[in-house]
């Protein structure tokens, strides 16, 4: 079934928004996400650039600082709400697994 844009977040989208709950320079996000996930989630630079642009257009993040070409971002209230929706969705999935997955 086709998914609306950002109806569910991919792993990369999720961790970028999570990373930006604190102000972060764009170029440092890749390394930060790798640290947060012990290398399990890798964000490519092209993907990072595209998602930062898209998140800005959607109003999930905002630019906080520009120093030359180094731009910093932080999540907005709308972005936090979206992140929280995703957290609730993942928790529901875990509960369903706990309820039905253990029976097998």
């Amino acid at each position: 079934m086709a998914r609306e844009k950002y109806q569910t977040l991919t792993e990369q989208m999720f961790y970028i928004l999570l990373c930006l709950t604190r102000e972060q320079c764009g170029v440092d996000i890749m390394e930060r996400v790798r640290e947060m996930t012990d290398g399990q989630v890798v964000i490519g630079p092209g993907t990072l650039y595209s998602l930062l642009e898209s998140f800005q257009q959607e109003g999930f993040i905002r630019e906080t600082k520009v120093e030359g070409r180094r731009r910093s971002y932080r999540i907005t209230r709308r972005g936090r709400e979206r992140l929280d929706q995703e957290r609730q969705r993942l928790e529901r999935q875990l509960e369903d697994y706990g309820r039905y997955g253990e029976e097998a």
Partner: protein, 401 residues
């Protein structure tokens, strides 16, 4: 030993797997990408090495930019942080190189990658395809007009048929390109939405179009040269073929001039589009004029006699045997000394037909002009009537041919 060389880039920009494979193979032989342009790559010599290449789309970049934009530089900064060095770009197509054995891919989200490709294609390729289709539509409307008015003159000439066939192939390829891309895009979109990846960009439709583009013009050129029949016709056809590349040369010149003057993207694009429209309309008008005229027609044969009238004008006279003459139709011909009886045959791979012509040359002739062929064509002037009886005589004579 030369330090640089230029190689032709035979790949479509979104055929990234094939491009990367070729560049990495060249690197193992000591040739490294230095600069990309519209037609190929400039390579520089170095120590053979195992390096990784990546080709990506950056929608914000355009061939009309005088230099890298700030956004492009930011994009390159992100890639550098991930171990990818920017090598070159042509428009939205960006080339990166990494010396790390296993660098993280530049694109790790298929949805974002597909979106970047689609934004670029919509802005650049589809727009250009639309423009080409409009120009081809103008060309074909002119050709259909000629075909409607004088179908036999076109269908009986191998050279004209070959030119039309080449344009038909070009038109098919111009339609196939955007259709093929849209099919790939919607199928890839469905795949990505279901958790998969973008599909390979090389489809059977595109491969068929590439084969057509590469092989048919060469084969047709051979047919035309064999059928041309004279050095003059061959030369004229080759001139017409060479003129087709004029728009590209003109556009490239305008484009380089505008970029060298440091104009902004909007100015360069505006100048390029204006030059493109003028160049393409000009070449289409030239093609239509060529095909409408007799320039490519086979040269006439030598007359049997030349008649010079009282004004000193020369007229060619022929003395061929015609199935039916004006005399057979009961019309008295008093000026037989300046009456021309001419028969000729036009043959192509599609059609073969004969035409017969009788007319009185020079001034003050009161004879009608009779021209007929496998279908009755002309009989006119000066009060002579094409009666049913005369039509019947013509029909009987022609049915015996």
């Amino acid at each position: 030993m030369r330090e640089k060389k230029w190689v032709l880039n035979i790949y479509q920009p979104d055929d990234e797997a094939a491009i990367v494979k070729r560049l990495e193979k060249l690197a193992t032989k000591g040739w490294f990408l230095e600069r990309a342009d519209n037609w190929g790559w400039t390579l520089r010599r170095g120590e053979p090495a195992q390096v990784r290449y990546a080709v990506t789309y950056f929608p914000g970049a355009s061939v009309f930019d005088p230099g890298p934009t700030e956004d492009q530089e930011t994009y390159a900064d992100y890639c550098r942080a991930a171990g990818w060095e920017f090598v070159s770009s042509y428009g939205p197509v960006q080339y990166f190189r990494s010396t790390r054995p296993d660098p993280a891919p530049i694109e790790t989200d298929e949805g974002a990658k597909l979106e970047a490709i689609h934004r670029t294609k919509t802005k650049n390729t589809l727009l250009a395809s639309g423009l080409v289709l409009v120009v081809l539509a103008i060309f074909w409307s002119g050709q259909l007009r000629v075909l409607r008015q004088t179908p036999l003159s076109v269908l009986s000439d191998n050279v004209r048929l070959a030119i039309l066939a080449v344009f038909l192939i070009l038109s098919l390829c111009a339609v196939i390109a955007p259709v093929d891309y849209l099919i790939w895009y919607f199928r890839s979109k469905r795949s990505v939405e279901n958790g998969g990846t973008c599909l390979p960009s090389r489809t059977w439709l595109r491969s068929a179009a590439n084969i057509l583009l590469l092989s048919c013009p060469a084969a047709l050129l051979g047919v035309v040269l064999a059928a041309a029949g004279s050095v003059r016709r061959i030369a004229l056809f080759l001139v017409l073929l060479a003129l087709q590349f004029l728009p590209y040369a003109a556009l490239w010149t305008v484009f380089l001039l505008l970029r060298r003057r440091g104009r902004d993207r909007a100015s360069v694009r505006k100048g390029y589009i204006i030059a493109a429209v003028i160049a393409w309309i000009g070449i289409m008008a030239l093609d239509i004029a060529f095909l409408d005229s007799d320039i490519l027609a086979a040269p006439g044969r030598q007359p049997d006699q030349i008649y010079v009238d009282s004004h000193g004008d020369s007229h060619n006279l022929y003395a061929d045997d015609l199935p039916v003459t004006l005399e057979d139709l009961g019309i008295e011909v008093k000026t037989a000394d300046r009456c021309s009886y001419r028969a000729w045959n036009s043959t192509s791979i599609l059609v073969s037909y004969s035409t017969y012509d009788q007319s009185a040359e020079g001034e003050e002739s009161d004879l009608p002009w009779l021209r007929y062929g496998d279908q009755l064509v002309h009989f006119r002037q000066w009060g002579w009537e094409l009666t049913d009886e005369r039509v019947e005589i013509l029909r009987e004579a022609l049915s015996g041919q």
